[in-house]
């Protein structure tokens, strides 16, 4: 039986998804930030900065205003039941982005790269940005990430082997690239952030794998034991760098490290880092013919 899509209801549900993503820090991120704050030394700038970030997150939730004025790129990962029209989904999401901008949940963030003109409503060529998958559930799942510019600017991609880092084409080489990238970023990506890492793929698909990792809850466990080991090693060692919240120094440089992998060409070995700022704004929506829920 095919899924009946009520386009208006879907558009309104996505508008609410955008509002939630822009104004509500996810529970697992809040939890990690609180743990980090309690862990930092008494009287340190790191502790007071984390405290200020948490107070801001509270105020944003309460007032329904953006956590950060850079409401980022809208990146949608949509999973649909068989037979749902992608054109209808896209047009409803585009409309939702316009509405959310009008309601000041979003800053107008889509600039024409040739003319320099801001479209004013967050829509344009590849804006919003979509990825699609299909599944057997009678539900449309929409995962949304608001990816800010500061943290996108410090995201990076390496090609192994890397002579400077003495990094070979193996997991240890991946480790070296990520230590280097986070060290280069310092506080510029609004640390403490989350490192989403994609091993392999091509230059585009590797970065998609990296971005997808950012949807994982911070307290989940990787299904691949080899990658779990890498995540734990990187998490421990990145926090030894001493960069700390906003780069002021401290014990917390990253809140989480999530790694995924894709098959690669024999000739290529890319390591992609999608870095998210502490304001790790993501939200998922489950939309059925009769109900909608957010997570």
């Amino acid at each position: 039986m095919s899924f009946k899509l009520d386009v208006d209801r879907f558009r309104d549900a996505v508008t609410e998804l955008i509002r939630k993503a822009a104004t509500q820090l996810p529970a697992d991120v809040t939890q990690a930030m609180e743990t980090a704050r309690d862990n930092e030394d008494e009287g340190s700038p790191a502790k007071s900065v984390l405290d200020y970030m948490l107070k801001n997150a509270d105020a944003a939730r309460e007032n329904s205003t953006p956590i950060c004025q850079d409401t980022g790129t809208l990146i949608f990962f949509v999973t649909i039941p068989e037979g749902v029209s992608l054109r209808k989904i896209e047009s409803a999401i585009t409309e939702a982005a316009r509405l959310a901008t009008k309601k000041s949940y979003l800053r107008p963030n889509a600039v024409d790269s040739v003319t320099g003109k801001n479209s004013g409503d967050n829509t344009g060529v590849m804006a919003p940005n979509y990825h699609y998958e299909e599944w057997d559930e009678p539900t449309i799942k929409v995962e949304l990430m608001l990816k800010g510019g500061g943290c996108e600017n410090v995201s990076d991609q390496y090609k192994l082997p890397d002579g400077r880092l003495k990094a070979g084409r193996d997991i240890d080489g991946v480790y070296k690239c990520i230590i280097d990238a986070i060290n280069k970023a310092q506080g510029l990506g609004c640390a403490p952030g989350v490192a989403g890492i994609g091993i392999g793929g091509d230059r585009a698909s590797g970065m998609v794998v990296a971005k997808k990792q950012l949807f994982r809850k911070l307290d989940d466990t990787n299904s691949d034991p080899e990658l779990t080991k890498l995540e734990n090693r990187l998490y421990t060692d990145l926090n030894k760098l001493g960069i700390g919240p906003m780069g002021f120094g401290g014990l917390t440089t990253v809140l989480g490290v999530k790694v995924g992998a894709a098959h690669r060409l024999p000739a290529s070995f890319f390591v992609s880092l999608a870095y998210s700022c502490w304001a790790d704004r993501r939200c998922a929506m489950h939309f059925t013919e009769s109900e909608v829920s957010y997570d």
Partner: protein, 192 residues
Amino acid sequence: MIKINLPISEADIRKLKMGDEVSLNGIMLTGRDSAHTWLLNEKPTEARELLKGSVIYHCGPVVKKVGDEWHFVAAGPTTSIREEPYQGPVIKEYGIRGVMGKGGMGEKTLNALGEHGGVYLHAVGGAATLQAQAVKKVHGVLKLEEFGVPEAMWIIEVEDFQAVITMDSHGNSLHKEIKAASDKVANKLIGI
């Protein structure tokens, strides 16, 4: 927390040290890329009195207009290093005592802060709602039509706007220190 009332004197700004946590009160201006080139190339008179002894804040806010009055909705810092080529001359030309943004700045600005007497104030990135709440009143705006909302110079009155001094007038930069220390750790972990 050290309370600062704007405008501030050279003697008082030189008392501030890297690592101090401060609370800003009084009138300051926002300004980013377009504003800095305007200030340098055209030397406008309307910004001169306002900037003297005050702070320039690297910020592109989300604003809303209620009746005739502007309000700040979200107003966190943007990355400061883009203004590195202009910041030193702007500090000296206008007698600015504080530059506020995020990420810190380079040697040229650090030298200008030392010569003229000024500090770099680091505001917390991504804390835009709280920072907008510290903006009590918008007194006006310069170059709104020409530069657009994010790039215009907003004249704002703040109360208890919190920041950390990460570069002072004595040649200290927290950014340089943290980077030097983390480079050592990173090289050891990487094995180079």
